[in-house]
């Protein structure tokens, strides 16, 4: 078969057909993967909530409430066991990360102390800042069981009580910033 000539009509027609086919195919795949993507995101969030809170038997994401803070929103997931509050998971953020935003899930017990923290999303340097993830180092363990009233959530360099990750003061600072934001919001009316 002979190659098509590069006439104006031919070119426009070819590009039009290709773009149309491509976008139809993409639209189809998008519709097909929409539900699984949403489910995967939801599952990741639920896993984080389960990890940072003691056992509960309600559906925290159905009782979600929001508090606006610093031009963005914090999401609160109250967890109850037989309708008694056992803790609140807070999805918090910071934009002070070394390379972009960091999102954390923080579990706070009804007495105001931190139960556990997991990282939801970060873009920190592999090998340095990414040690904030629980699987990579013990950095996040030092927050377990502390109460923000008696514990200064700032790195030691800034006069706080937190041991920063070696060579990653900026990432550690950002982490503390996110934790502080969640604790402040909790005290300011996030407690329900």
């Amino acid at each position: 078969m002979a190659k098509k000539e590069s006439s104006f009509v031919n070119m426009v027609f070819t590009l039009f057909v290709i773009t149309l086919t491509a976008s139809t195919a993409l639209g189809f795949v998008y519709e097909f993967t929409k539900a699984p993507i949403a489910a995967a995101k939801q599952a990741a969030k639920m896993k984080a909530i389960n990890e940072v809170l003691p056992e509960f038997n309600n559906l925290p994401n159905e009782e979600i409430y929001k508090i606006a803070m610093d031009n963005d929103t914090l999401y609160f997931y109250p967890a109850r066991e037989n309708s008694r509050l056992v803790g609140t998971a807070i999805e918090t953020f910071t934009n002070k990360g070394f390379s972009g935003n960091i999102k954390l899930m923080i579990g706070i017990l009804p007495d105001g102390s931190i139960n556990d923290i997991v990282v939801l999303e970060h873009k920190e340097t592999p090998g340095l800042g990414d040690k904030m993830s629980k699987s990579k180092s013990d950095f996040s363990l030092q927050f377990q069981g502390i109460n923000p009233e008696s514990f200064n959530i700032n790195v030691k360099k800034d006069g706080g009580d937190v041991d920063a990750i070696t060579a990653s003061t900026i990432s550690s600072r950002a982490y503390c910033d996110a934790v502080n934001r969640a604790c402040n919001a909790y005290l300011k009316g996030g407690k329900k």
Partner: protein, 195 residues
């Protein structure tokens, strides 16, 4: 053409990373561990194979002057498909690879093969070429990821066999460049001996 030869050229003689120096950005960017490297390699292989197939099937319908834009659209579609599928079924890996998934679209390797090979060769050759080049690329990422993970975190495939931190430098950016430099040097030496 000998299909086997066509397939295995991607591994040594024309290895994308070590010999042709194509697709270096993802090579350096994602190889902090073996799993990331191989994941990236396979995602690229998929895009490479599919775009090779489509390009070779429709090569006669595309006027010469709009060749490149057409190829880019085809490649970008497959990249988006990979992006969506990974987000749905491998969300963990997708988070790790991040920006480098959409960047497969500008991986010179993919466009290069579409333009230099698939648009001129038969269906079967294009398939073997795509697979060979893709697996060769994956192999390179596997080696680089292996070196960096073993030296940098003292583990292999996530299994830690040296306690402690390892030589942190190899996980960081400078280590990527240096490790790749040495791997290319070794490859130069091997290729010189066999030819």
């Amino acid at each position: 053409m000998n299909q086997w030869k066509n397939f295995n050229k991607g591994f040594f003689r024309e290895n994308a990373v070590f010999v042709l120096f194509l697709g270096l950005c993802p090579t350096l960017g994602v190889t902090t561990s073996v799993i990331n490297g191989v994941g990236m390699g396979l995602a690229t292989t998929f895009v490479l194979l599919m775009s090779n197939i489509v390009v070779t099937l429709i090569k006669n319908f595309i006027p010469d002057k709009v060749r490149i834009p057409s190829f880019i659209i085809i490649i970008a579609s497959f990249v988006t498909i990979v992006e969506l599928l990974m987000q749905a079924y491998l969300p963990g890996l997708f988070d790790e690879l991040g920006l480098f998934i959409p960047l497969i679209v500008v991986n010179c390797l993919v466009l290069g093969r579409a333009e230099a090979f698939a648009s001129k060769n038969s269906f079967l050759s294009s398939v073997t070429d795509g697979l060979g080049m893709g697996f060769g690329f994956t192999m390179a990422l596997f080696f680089l990821g292996g070196v960096r993970e073993i030296l940098g975190s003292g583990s292999f495939l996530g299994f830690k066999f040296i306690p402690g931190d390892g030589i942190l430098l190899f996980i960081l950016a400078p280590g990527a460049f240096i490790a790749l430099g040495y791997l290319i040097m070794i490859m130069n030496k091997i290729n010189k001996k066999t030819t």
